[in-house]
């Protein structure tokens, strides 16, 4: 029984060794160098830990063997004196190795990258992420939200800003963690090398819905990324059908337009996420729900029930209009 419980506990500990949000399965250069630092610390600290416990066990067994003797004052022990110096030396070497490793990793993270080419701006809001890319075609900025796409093998310099309070940008698989502080221009370099979906999360308590301030990260091939960015730069897609036409009327001429942009329509609010290509995203409301028509409708009808305290207010719509709006948003590919 005890053995199986122990095995279960070990399995839980291993659960974070793979997955979409873990520093233990690096998918980027920066994450890999931080992971190597972690491994170094694990070995050095593990070695010292085993050594300490070994000596403790030795001392206990010595006491138990020669038990019940009255405590006596030991005569000066030259061997003990010498081994204490050795012990101090081990500590000094261990700490020097750790400090040296930390220094080297820190320096490599801060170093200018030769391949630094892609410029991305990420702005944290309560409780979502505004993401903007420099468009190579026009030189302007292409905006999206809550989904960060990065080309593999290319360094992106992510400029971090906050619109309100302190947040923290954290994509453990790809990059490290960097605080997002109002009034301070922070930046983080990211060079992903493994394709796939990962998860980012705000890592600094920023208010009621801090836990639900996530974002998806997709590492694409450079060609896929270029195609994705070109598609994001285009204005909203043409209407698919009459229901979508009604939905467009609701979204772009009603309350949604006060805070949301749908490029190419009358909706030009800047307070909330850009919805021009919301249908292409994997999730809605900063990683809260998977993207689909039903979830969109639920989010429009009762955002306060799904994410209490969110700045997205309840928009009172007739059921048919809410469905049309959700359908329209779903078609914004």
């Amino acid at each position: 029984m005890i053995r199986s419980r122990f095995a279960l506990a070990c399995l839980f500990a291993l659960a974070s060794c793979s997955g979409i949000q873990t520093p233990l399965a690096p998918a980027g250069e920066q994450a890999a160098s931080q992971y190597s630092l972690f491994v170094l610390m694990l070995w050095v600290c593990g070695f010292v830990y085993v050594l300490v416990l070994g000596f403790l066990a030795l001392a206990v067994s010595r006491v138990m063997r020669g038990a019940a003797a009255d405590p006596v004052l030991d005569a000066p022990d030259r061997g003990l004196h010498r081994s204490l110096w050795v012990w101090a030396g081990i500590i000094l070497i261990g700490l020097s190795v750790l400090a040296g490793g930390s220094f080297l990793v820190d320096r490599s993270l801060a170093a200018a990258q030769a391949r630094e080419a892609l410029e991305v701006r990420v702005t944290a809001h309560q409780w979502w992420w505004r993401i903007a890319y420099r468009d190579p075609a026009t030189g302007g900025w292409v905006e999206t939200a809550n989904e960060l796409h990065l080309p593999a093998g290319r360094t992106a310099r992510i400029a971090l800003g906050s619109a309100d309070v302190i947040h923290s940008f954290w994509v453990p698989n790809v990059a490290g963690k960097m605080d997002v502080i109002p009034g301070r221009a922070n930046a983080i370099d990211v060079t992903p090398h493994r394709l796939g979906w990962f998860r980012g999360q705000c890592a600094e308590f920023c208010g009621t819905q801090h836990a639900k301030m996530a974002f998806d990260v997709k590492v694409d091939t450079p060609a896929e990324f270029a195609a994705w960015l070109a598609a994001q730069a285009r204005p909203a897609a043409a209407l698919a059908d009459t229901v979508a036409a009604r939905g467009m009327q609701v979204v772009t001429q009603g309350q949604c337009a006060a805070c949301h942009v749908v490029r190419g329509t009358a909706a030009a609010g800047r307070a909330g996420p850009d919805l021009t290509h919301v249908g292409t995203r994997r999730s809605i409301a900063a990683g809260l729900l998977p993207m689909n028509r039903g979830n969109l409708q639920g989010w429009i009808a009762q955002p306060q029930a799904l994410k209490p305290g969110t700045m997205m207010p309840t928009v009172t719509l007739e059921p048919a209009d809410a469905d049309a709006a959700a359908h329209y948003l779903e078609t914004l590919k």
Binding site: T123, A124, G161, S162, A163, D164, P182, G183, A185, T208, G254, Q255, A257, A258, C259, A268, G269, R270, A271, Q302, Q304, A305, P308, G309, P313, T314, V315, T316
Partner: protein
């Protein structure tokens, strides 16, 4: 000679000297909690879905004088670009702090004035959700009680937030 503890005259004095300590500590702890009610609010789906029905609508109590609702109202006041015209010291009735000091208006009147506002560029009742109109009304009603320097600081705090269709980037 060993004197028993009970016979030590200083002990009696010490006990008397520290007798008030728990009382003061609990008073201080109590004082820390006093301000908590200023921001108490219900989050979740139970937000107003209809405008106030008269000056005695019981829902008004949840907004009036509540620091959270007033601060959110101030935020939406910025988001919807109200501050573009209604600046500090604006001419005539546009200076809302002065206007609210001159004429006392009930909550539902302020709400109706904002919802019925036919300003540039839109019809506000059609654009601003009801829950936010409640918060903006609470903010406007609170303006005479907020010192100008505090109002200015709120404006500065919100420089990173979007204003209507403008957003100048994060706080720099």
């Amino acid at each position: 000679m060993i004197v028993p503890d009970e016979a030590d005259p200083r002990r009696g004095n010490g006990a008397w000297r520290w007798a008030w300590a728990p009382a003061v500590a609990s008073l201080m702890c109590g004082a820390l909690l006093v301000a908590c009610t200023r921001e108490s609010r219900t989050i979740g789906p139970e937000q107003p879905q209809t405008p106030p029905n008269g000056a005695n609508d019981p829902r008004i109590a949840n907004f009036e004088g509540n620091a959270y609702q007033i601060a959110q109202g101030g935020r939406y006041f910025t988001w919807y670009g109200c501050g573009t015209c209604h600046t500090e010291g604006a001419p005539g009735r546009r200076d809302l702090a002065l206007e609210m000091t001159r004429r006392s208006r009930s909550f539902d009147t302020v709400y109706a004035l904002i919802a019925g506002h036919r300003g540039v560029p839109v019809d506000y009742a059609a654009r601003i959700p009801i829950e936010q109109l409640w918060q903006i009304s609470a903010y406007v009603r609170s303006l005479p009680g907020i010192k100008p320097e505090l109002r200015r600081r709120q404006t500065l705090d919100q420089t990173g937030e979007p204003q209507a269709s403008n957003w100048s980037g994060p706080v720099r």
